[in-house]
């Protein structure tokens, strides 16, 4: 009992003491020059620069008082604190400042001589790779990422607001939007949601995406995160709001609608015919991917009359030796494919490829030979897995693969009836879903036929005269370069 009590008192004592002590990592050193003392954390400081820039100045001007020193020290961004408390000292030193103290005074000068972290090179975006078009991808440093965007948008209307999120990680987050284009409601919603986040660690923008989604229980992503700075710029210009997080190689933007998840950014680099074809193909692939296996299960189990005469023998003979009902067969194969994908994702690239080939060919043919699955289903499952990977946004392609499983189980229970039921559930859910408060299914519902020009098809640029309606932008028209001018009108 006494022991317990002592723990409790110790805890309450800890809670009660508001006075924070100085960080024990801080190294306090005498400089040996006059009576100047320094305090810093070694790992955060570029000591070489300190030795070359600050110490010689101190040496030369030994007689200066602390305030004169602050004024004359040839380093920008230094801070002068009168009798700072322990917390500010800790904070400033942890940010990479060196504290200069004169023994006689309690005031401090904080000199920012941060050690520059060597950054990862700007590399080619891996997930959203495109054959033509820019090959720059975001890296983990927010300043570089902002540079990548600002470089592409040299306009004064680009507004960048900074936030600090994460009670412990203090991650720097930048909210970006075009002042004269983006709808204020969107901007404010984004800002409010981000600033309301109370979480101790934010290590990646994915944390934030999941925390600010409109419907956090939904399986469908409500923001697009991309590793392409050009995609973020395009979104900003369209009137969307984006944010970057320090430490995350992704830019995130919203509000988005469902069809945007099936638009790859290369679509804008290709001619509009090809881009439109690809987009329609992708949407078809998604529908196929969700419904192929459930329909197979439903038809084989409950509605054999729907099978065409010519397929009858193929389907029947492919199933005769299989001991499982079609649902289990389908689930088994789907799980196998998911296992292959997961194993491939967890392993290094080279091993992953081998796993994919070995798994795909060996397990596939072996399971057919062993009479565990029918070869028709194998084709369907492989095709629908392939089709799900055509979705350009990784988050969405995952959702689509997961949605398939409840559909398969449903189709095993009530056949086509439940496939229809599942479809209705998905549709109603999508209808109810919003992204930053804007309808998720737009421009299909609510119907915005003008916005169809850049949705599941992409018409040529000269038709894209207006920004999407659902964003409620301030400046509706895009720049009117399509207006014809005579040759002598040019300067």
């Amino acid at each position: 009992m006494n022991f317990l009590k002592s723990i409790l008192t110790a805890k309450s004592a800890q809670k009660g003491s508001k006075e924070t002590s100085l960080d024990t990592n801080i190294l306090w050193e005498e400089t040996g020059i006059s009576d100047w003392k320094t305090g810093y954390i070694q790992t955060l400081i570029n000591l070489e620069r300190f030795d070359q820039e600050v110490l010689p100045f101190l040496q030369k001007n030994q007689s200066l008082s602390i305030s004169e020193m602050f004024q004359q020290l040839p380093i920008t961004n230094k801070k002068w604190c009168k009798n700072p408390d322990n917390q500010t000292i800790n904070e400033l030193i942890l940010q990479g400042n060196i504290a200069l103290v004169k023994r006689s005074s309690k005031d401090m000068i904080f000199v920012p001589i941060r050690k520059e972290q060597s950054l990862r090179q700007i590399s080619v975006p891996e997930v959203e790779f495109s054959v033509i078009g820019p090959k720059e991808g975001f890296i983990e440093d927010i300043d570089t990422n902002l540079l990548l965007i600002q470089k592409r948008l040299p306009t004064s209307s680009l507004q960048i607001d900074f936030l600090e999120i994460g009670t412990r990680t203090k991650s720097k987050v930048a909210i970006l939007y075009l002042k004269d284009v983006a709808d204020e409601e969107n901007v404010n919603t984004m800002k409010q949601r981000l600033s309301e986040i109370e979480y101790d660690h934010i290590l990646d923008s994915s944390y934030l995406v999941q925390m600010i989604e409109d419907n956090k229980m939904s399986i469908f992503p409500q923001f697009i995160d991309t590793e392409r700075p050009d995609r973020v710029v395009a979104a900003l210009v369209e009137g969307k709001v984006a944010f970057l997080t320090n430490g995350s190689p992704h830019g995130t933007y919203g509000p988005v609608s469902l069809v945007e998840f099936f638009a790859a950014f290369d679509d804008y680099f290709l001619s509009w015919h090809i881009a439109s074809l690809f987009r329609i193909m992708r949407i078809f692939a998604v529908i196929f991917s969700i419904f192929a296996t459930p329909l197979y299960v439903a038809v084989i189990t409950y509605h054999p009359e729907l099978i065409p005469d010519d397929l009858m023998s193929t389907l029947t003979t492919s199933r005769t030796d299989i001991p499982f009902p079609p649902v289990l067969e389908a689930l088994f194969l789907e799980l196998t494919i998911e296992l292959l994908r997961e194993a491939g994702a967890r392993l290094p690239t080279k091993v992953g490829q081998t796993i994919g080939i070995v798994g795909g060919i060996v397990i596939g043919t072996a399971s057919v030979d062993a009479g565990l699955t029918s070869n028709v289903l194998l084709i369907l499952v492989a095709l629908s897995a392939l089709a799900s990977f055509t979705t350009p946004v990784y988050r969405m392609s995952n959702s689509i693969r997961i949605v398939r499983f409840p559909m398969i189980i449903l189709s095993g229970i009530w056949g086509l009836l439940s496939v229809a039921l599942g479809l209705m559930t998905i549709l109603t859910h999508l209808l109810a879903l919003t992204s930053l408060g804007r309808p998720y299914l737009a421009p299909i519902y609510p119907p915005r036929i003008k916005d169809w020009k850049d949705s599941f098809i992409r018409l040529p640029f000269f038709t894209q005269k207006e920004r999407p309606k659902q964003l409620r932008v301030k400046e509706k028209e895009k720049i009117n370069w399509w207006k014809k001018r005579d040759i002598d009108e040019f300067d």
Binding site: H303, P304, E305, I307, D309, S313, R319, L410, I413
Partner: protein
């Protein structure tokens, strides 16, 4: 939360729908019904494929007897390893003997089954349906689709009018129409269309000869296919029908008179003389064909009137064009109604030779 719980319970507590997994059913392709010597009994024969591997499968048949179609089905079910599944039935055949006694009971059972499609084919056979179905069509009926494909292709590319279960039921339940079905017979190694079986109610009362099929087809529906063989003393030929349309004209005064105007456009496919390039010759051929067709169609209509049946749906067409149509009067007067047919034939081409 509550809602999703209710939804979950709805799924979990209600059981699965009855399963009909593809490889666990006997997929019946054709059904045949015959009259059984025992009073009020019918014999049912089913054809179903047995799949051995993807390329080879054999057609098996089973026969059972009972008072109704349902009873026959039960009897048959007692003989098969897997439950009988009627969803893929594509032809149902009735023997002429049964058809003459009436097929109402059988049809009634079939039309109540939601698993049986309405686009399947019904036919009357001259011989026993069992004899035709169990005949060994070595190569032609390997997959159990021979009968249905034969009827279907004849409807689409030849002289047989579009007839199926749906049209049969439509005509059967119609006040001013009577049903017709294809009439089949067994040739040495094939089944042949012998003509049409005419129904009065659910009983077969007569036939239409196969040579009159095209005439019947042009009288019953607009069509885009068919071929007509014609002959006079000096030449013989064949007209391929490209387009045919029928118009009804009613005359109330001085007495009831129904005129059927049929426009036929066709291509001369076969002609035993070489002067078909001459427009005058073409004109005369057209005239001849018109006269032939009119004569034949009048023969058909007289026959229908004599049997007091209306397979062409003349009554329905008249009703649709008459205000205050009197059903009873029509029925009474139909036999003696003046019906005439006016064909106009146009030969648009005479083959690539000319």
């Amino acid at each position: 939360m509550k809602k999703s719980l209710v939804l979950l319970l709805a799924v979990v507590l209600s059981s699965c729908a009855p399963k009909e997994v593809l490889d666990d059913i006997t997929i019946v392709k054709s059904i045949g019904f015959d009259l059984h010597p025992k009073k009020d009994h019918i014999t049912g024969t089913i054809l179903f494929p047995i799949f051995i591997n993807e390329e080879t499968f054999k057609i098996n048949h089973l026969t059972a007897t009972g008072e109704t179609a349902r009873e026959v089905a039960l009897e048959l079910n007692e003989m098969t390893a897997k439950p009988i599944f009627a969803g893929k039935v594509n032809t149902i055949m009735f023997s002429q003997k049964l058809a003459e006694k009436g097929i109402l009971e059988t049809i009634d059972t079939l039309q109540r089954d939601p698993g049986i499609g309405r686009a399947i084919f019904l036919a009357v056979t001259k011989e026993d349906a069992k004899k035709i179905m169990t005949h060994n069509f070595e190569l032609t009926n390997t997959d159990g689709n021979y009968f249905s494909h034969m009827i279907e292709q004849n409807e689409h590319f030849s002289n047989l009018p579009r007839l199926n279960f749906h049209t049969f039921l439509y005509a059967y339940y119609h006040n001013n129409m009577d049903a017709v079905l294809p009439y089949l017979t067994l040739k040495k190694n094939a089944v042949k269309i012998k003509g049409l079986a005419l129904f009065k109610g659910d009983k077969m009362v007569g036939t239409v000869h196969e040579q009159q099929l095209l005439t019947f087809k042009t009288l019953i529906e607009p069509t885009k296919e068919g071929s007509y063989q014609f002959a006079t003393r000096s030449y013989r030929g064949n007209l391929e029908v490209l387009k045919s349309k029928i118009h009804y004209k009613l005359f109330q005064k001085p007495h009831h008179h129904v005129l059927l105007e049929v426009n036929v456009k066709g291509r001369l496919n076969e002609y035993t003389k070489m002067d078909a390039g001459d427009p005058k010759v073409i004109k005369s051929i057209e005239k001849n064909i018109e006269a032939d067709l009119e004569k034949e169609s009048m023969k058909l209509i007289r026959k229908f009137q004599r049997l007091n049946i209306d397979p062409l749906g003349i009554g329905e067409n008249v009703r649709a064009r008459t205000r205050a149509f009197n059903q009873k009067e029509w029925k009474r007067d139909y036999k003696d109604l003046k019906i005439s047919v006016d064909y106009s034939v146009e030969i648009t081409e005479a083959g690539i030779a000319q």
